[in-house]
Structure formats: C-alpha cells, structure tokens
Point group: C2
C-alpha cells in the first residue's frame, strides 16, 4: 500500500492507494474517527453500486457500523440540487447525527455530490472518499465539492476536506477503456504543470497504464495525487497557485459546454484543451517542442488532441467568456513554459485564443 | 456608533451598531473589501424591501457599485432549498463573480438564507449582514447559516462568517411589537447564560426596550452581540461551550415543531423553554429564586412563560427526542446554576423533563 498525506494543518488527511483496501474499510473508518454508534451513509451510483457496494457494506457491518446507502443514476445529470435534496432526505430519515459520516463510493460525480452533502448536512459531518475512477484521483483530493446549476457547472459548492481517501485499485478493473484514458489526462496534466520527469514517465509507461497494470497504475496515481496535494496545501481556497491545476480547462470546459456534456468525456475535453494551451504557448513565443511533446504524450494515452470541425468558434469563445475563471472580464490562461512548468498569463488577447481554436481543428500538425 | 469585533483569527469581523448606518453602506462595503467592479446581490423580504431597499441600493450605486436584488416572501417558508435555488439563479444571471458579495437586508430568515447562498455560490463569496430585527442580533453573529429541509429545521447549512454586520437601529422602528418582544427573548438569554448584571439591567429597562428607545436599545444589542461573539470566538464550530447558547431551545424547538411554525414566534417559544429550564434547575436542586427571577424578567419583556393546555406532552417529548442536540440518544439540557451562569447537563432523565412540561401548563406559580 502507498500512502500520502495532504498537509492542511488541522484539516490534513491521508490518501491510501493499493489493492484489497475495501476489505479494511471498518478499520479505516475507525482510524478516520467515525464512532460506530453513529450511522454511516454510502453514496454510490448505478454502475458502481452493483459491483462494490455489497462487499463494502458487509465489511462495515462486520466491524459494527450501522450503514445506509443512497444510489444515484450514473452520470453528470445526478450532480444536481434535486438529487442533493434526495440524498439529504435519506440522511435525515436514517438518523445521521453530527458524528456520522458520508462515504463516496464512485467517480467524481459521486464524490462531488456526496462531499457537498457531507459539507452541509447539519453544517458539516464526516466525509470519506472511495474513488473508483482514475479521474477521481483528481476530484477526491483538494476538497472541492459541488453540484451543478442548470445555468453553470460546479456553481454551487464548498471547500470541504475529506477525513481520508481510500483508493482501491481493484475497483478500477471494471472501468471502460474510454474512462481510463480520460482519467489519465488529469494524471499527465499533473506532470505537465509541475513534474517533467513524471510527464515523460507517463508516456513511457502508457501501455502499462492503459492495461491497468497495478504497479504502474499505483505509481501514477500516487504521483498524481501527490502533485495535486502539494498544490492544494499551498493554496487551499484557490487564491493563486491552485489555478495552475486548470491547465487545459478553459478550452476544455468550453468544449464540454458547447458540445453538450458527455459527447467528450471531461479528460478528453481537457486533453484537447491542453493541446490548445501548448499551441497558445508557442504563439506567445515559447519553444515549438512544447506543443509536439504535449501532443505525443496525450496521444500515447489514447486521448484526442484536435477539435471536430463542427464546433463553432463563436460558440466556444462565448462559452469561455462566461467561464468563472475570468475575473472582471479579462481572459486568463495557464500557459506551459516548458514540459513540467507553467505560468498564469493574465491578459491573453481574445483574438489569439480564437486563432488557437481555429488551428485545433486541423488534423495532424497545425503548422 | 458602537462597534464590537468578533475575534475569529483570519475570519474576524466587526459589528457596527447605530443610527443612520444604511447611508454609509458604500464606505462599509469598501471597508469590507468588496471591489466596486464586482456586482453585489442584496437579498431581502417582502416586508423589509419596500421600506429600506431603495435607499440602500441608491447609496450603493452612488458609491459606484453595481447592485441587483432578490426579494423573497416574508416568513420562515422562504428558508427552503427551492428559494435557495432561485436566489442562486439570480446571482448567476447577474454575473456575480468570486469577488462579489451577498448583502442580507432583513431578519434571521433573510440572513440564514442569504448566508447559505454566500457560503456556497462559487464555493464561497463575500457576505455582509444588515439585520432589521432584534432577533437578528443573535442570528447575524456566529456564522451559522442554513435552510430548512421539509423534515427538519436548519438541517442544511454551513458555518460561514460574514465580513461585517451593519446594524442600523432606525430600521427597527417598523418592527411589529410581538417581534420586538420575541427578539428581546434572545437578548435577555445572553444575560441569563453569562452576565447577571445585564440580565437584571434588561428587566430594569424593559419599558425603554419595548419602546425602542435608541440609547437603551443600542446598549442591549451591543451587550447581546458581544456575549454571543465571546462564546462563538471560543467555540466557532459548536464543539462544546457554544451549546450554552441553546438555553431554552430544546423545549422551545419542540413547541415550535408541535404547535406549527408561526403559532409562537421563535423568541416566545424559547421564553417558555427558558422558564422550563429554570423549572428543571429547581428540580435538580438549584435555588427556587432562579425560576422566579427568570419568569419575572421574561414577563417584563412581554414574553409568555406558560404552555397552553392543548400542547400534548407525548408530542413534545417525541419532538425533543428527534432534536439534533441529542447525541446518540441521551437528553442534554442547558440548566441555569444561578442568573447569569449555566451548566451543560448531559444525562437528564426523560421523566423529569415530562414533569417540567406538565408544570409549564399551570398558570401562575407552578409550586
Ligand atoms: N472536485 C474536483 O476537484 C473535481 C476535479 C475534476 C473533476 N471533477 C468532477 O468529476 C466528475 C467527473 O468524474 P468521473 O470522470 O470520475 O465521472 P463519473 O463519476 O461520472 O464516472 C464516470 C463513469 O464511470 C462509471 N464508473 C465509475 N467507476 C466505475 C468502475 N469502477 N467501474 C465501472 N464503471 C465505473 C460511472 O458510473 C460513470 O458512468 C465531473 O462532475 C467533474 O466536474 C471534480
Ligand atoms: N443563524 C443563527 O445563529 C440563528 C439564530 C437564531 C435564529 N435564527 C433564525 O432566524 C429566523 C428568525 O429570525 P427573525 O425573527 O428575524 O425572523 P424573520 O426574518 O422572519 O423576521 C420576522 C418578521 O419580521 C419582518 N421584518 C423584519 N424586519 C422588519 C422591519 N424592520 N420592519 C418590519 N418588519 C420586519 C419579516 O418580514 C418577518 O415577517 C429563524 O429562521 C431562525 O432559525 C438563526
Ligand atoms: Zn479536470
Ligand atoms: Zn434562538
């Protein structure tokens, strides 16, 4: 088992990564400080629950816990205030008290929703993340929890740290291949922003990662989580540095918004976005190799790096202008200076971004 | 103008109390750190907005702020997730950004709802309280924000401190007399738990307080806020000491739940609850004068101290058992040791509480 600690003063917590961890859930909940007399609520989704919920509940009950569960429909649409209220109803009816905890068993959707429930039930109770996607190595670390508003994604939420993250690699075996690549996009992103060696390591071990080979996967998730944890420790509430985690996300979010959620998976959209950021870097005078290397890393992981022709430049630009990352109307981008280093560039001209979007539509090298 | 500071480390904030403060709102928002380029959202209700919103908006616009407002129907029913979502929609449509703030202009309902919006819009933006009821001297200090779930009051919320509380005494002039007495119940509660002299001072100056005489009122709100602030500073997240603020609330909440919200106002219900706590104290061996003095203080402020005969003991007991203040099934009460001092008593027998409830129905002295 690999363990990392997210350093956040009195809100610090451990991340455990390894095989067979679900069986230890009782001990882990006790270690996290949840008393056996207070009921636990597991939130999971319709894809994950049939596979892993029975064993998890059995292990908790064996340990002496009272457990209830709430299963949401798989997919982004469940990250809504309506579903949030339903989970709250389950929590109240089950008699969760102030020492109870919510356990998120699933991907980022389950984690974000369950985390917002934990943050706001009786003004905050215990919270434990059990991520079952690769992408959730990102969403389960850092304490951002949220639901969507019909007008904007992740608009309603809080900063709320879990007491622990328990990453059982065995649960990843059932993950569809496209979800694997999508999750690896955020893994390699962590290399691209802060760790050159790790970014190259990802490309070298791409085949093992795509095959979910435990040794490579365990290392990749450990490094990914560790880099994210390091950034979050420095800037818990996203006042500055934490913005670098948004590499590729401004364009990526616009692609998701314009294409409709689910056309591109999140990791696929930000892979195109990271290719776009690399293009922007070159336009701003950085070395052309940044673009070539970025694209080669992403394609080695089975990720897209070009934009289908039907995406309208006007609509993408419009979507970006509404993105919450633009304080007071200026356009801010995370721009690579090299593989493994980025800058926050504050006043990127909209015309340059439009050029990047247009070039992202060209197959092959855009030069 | 009187000013108090709530000491909470980097979340510390000032409370300003005085006449004519609404006119200074622009300067105050700047002092609170809200940039003029980010839109402000004022939340108010249908009773308060017609009286004070136009002047407030005008003062903010004069200062250079962009202002939008959202007016809710007056009353507890607006403290719901449905109304919360509507306010969120207004905030998004108005383009509130991460440096924007929500201003709560109203009583505790507006403050609790608007505070929960501020706490969770984009994971937390600025928040300023402009209380317009006496009761809100209590709700605007301490950072508890919440909405109700159909199954339980204040069940969904957060701890979220405002940047400032601006208490303009002039707005209290339009407050209905019953609301004045109800608010004074929480004022005298602050004396009963921690300040004997202040509790007696309230009885002595009851007539001036009921007449909203500015000098007496200003002092009473200052002392009330200061005592609340002192407790909150020691125990921001209600781990221990803060429980003493619940004097009278266990019985009071049960009365509100059984009678239906709005039959008794909150302060009226907790006045009966405080009489009940004093009765309990005497049953547990404390001096009988505690009950007599408590009742005399409450009646001097126009508050009820007995329970109408139609309230069922069974239903009240049942409601108390469901109260969130009972960890793991035991009954906890805040019991006065004297006027101005209380203890947290952990294992009060249910039969004793039932006796208290029965005696609260007797008119005049229960002995
Ligand atoms: N909080 C954050 O910091 C943060 C960061 C990144 C992304 N996110 C959020 O995370 C969400 C995306 O996360 P995601 O990609 O994990 O999405 P997801 O939770 O929707 O999971 C993707 C799909 O895989 C299925 N699935 C999950 N685990 C499985 C398993 N082990 N076997 C088989 N199927 C499985 C799910 O049912 C779902 O259909 C988005 O809502 C995004 O906003 C949050
Ligand atoms: N957050 C906390 O710590 C805390 C503490 C105590 C109470 N509360 C909450 O506060 C709420 C009760 O507060 P409240 O008593 O202020 O209720 P309220 O906000 O409903 O106000 C009472 C009534 O007075 C009207 N009103 C308000 N100001 C007025 C004015 N200046 N002139 C004329 N009418 C006016 C309102 O429209 C309403 O009809 C409850 O929801 C309770 O849960 C919260
Ligand atoms: Zn992402
Ligand atoms: Zn109260």
């Amino acid at each position: 088992m690999r363990s990392i600690r997210v350093e956040l003063g009195e809100r610090s917590y451990p991340i455990h990564i390894g095989s067979g961890l679900l069986a230890e859930i009782g001990e882990r909940c006790a270690e996290a400080g949840f008393p056996v007399r207070s009921p636990l609520l597991i939130v999971s989704d319709s894809e994950v629950a049939p596979r892993y919920l029975p064993a998890l509940e059995a292990a908790l009950r064996d340990y002496g816990y009272t457990v209830v569960h709430h299963i949401i429909a798989a997919g982004e649409a469940s990250k809504s205030l309506a579903v949030y209220e339903e989970v709250m109803t389950t929590a109240i009816q089950a008699g969760l008290d102030r020492r109870s905890a919510v356990l998120a068993l699933g991907g980022g959707v389950v984690g974000d929703l369950a985390g917002f429930v934990a943050a706001t039930y009786m003004r905050g109770i215990g919270f434990l993340q059990i991520p079952t996607t690769i992408l959730a190595h990102d969403s389960s670390v850092g304490g951002k929890v949220a639901v969507n508003h019909p007008l904007a994604k992740n608009m309603i939420g809080a900063f709320y740290q879990p007491s622990m993250v328990l990453y059982d690699l065995d649960t990843l075996a059932s993950l569809p291949a496209r979800q694997v690549s999508s999750g690896l996009a955020e893994v390699v992103k962590h290399g691209l922003i802060l760790d050159k060696d790790f970014a190259y390591w990802c490309r070298e071990h791409a085949a093992e990662l795509l095959a979910l080979q435990p040794e490579a996967l365990g290392y990749a998730l450990e490094r990914g989580c560790a880099i994210k944890a390091q950034v979050v420790s420095t800037d818990e509430r996203e006042q500055g540095l934490r913005a670098i985690l948004n590499l590729g996300h401004t364009i990526g979010h616009a692609i998701e918004a314009v294409g409709g959620y689910g056309v591109f998976l999140h990791g696929e959209a930000i892979a195109i976005g990271m290719a776009g950021s690399a293009l922007l870097a070159v336009k701003l005078g950085r070395d052309k190799s940044i673009y070539d290397e970025t694209v080669s890393m992403l394609t080695s992981l089975g990720l897209p790096v070009t934009l289908p022709a039907e995406y309208s430049e006007d609509e993408l630009m419009e979507a970006m202008m509404h993105d919450k990352k633009f304080k007071e109307g200026r356009m801010t981008f995370i721009v690579p200076d090299d593989i493994g280093t980025v800058s926050i560039v504050d006043d990127v001209q909209a015309s340059l971004v439009r050029e990047v979007i247009a070039q992202l539509k060209k197959e092959g090298s855009p030069w």
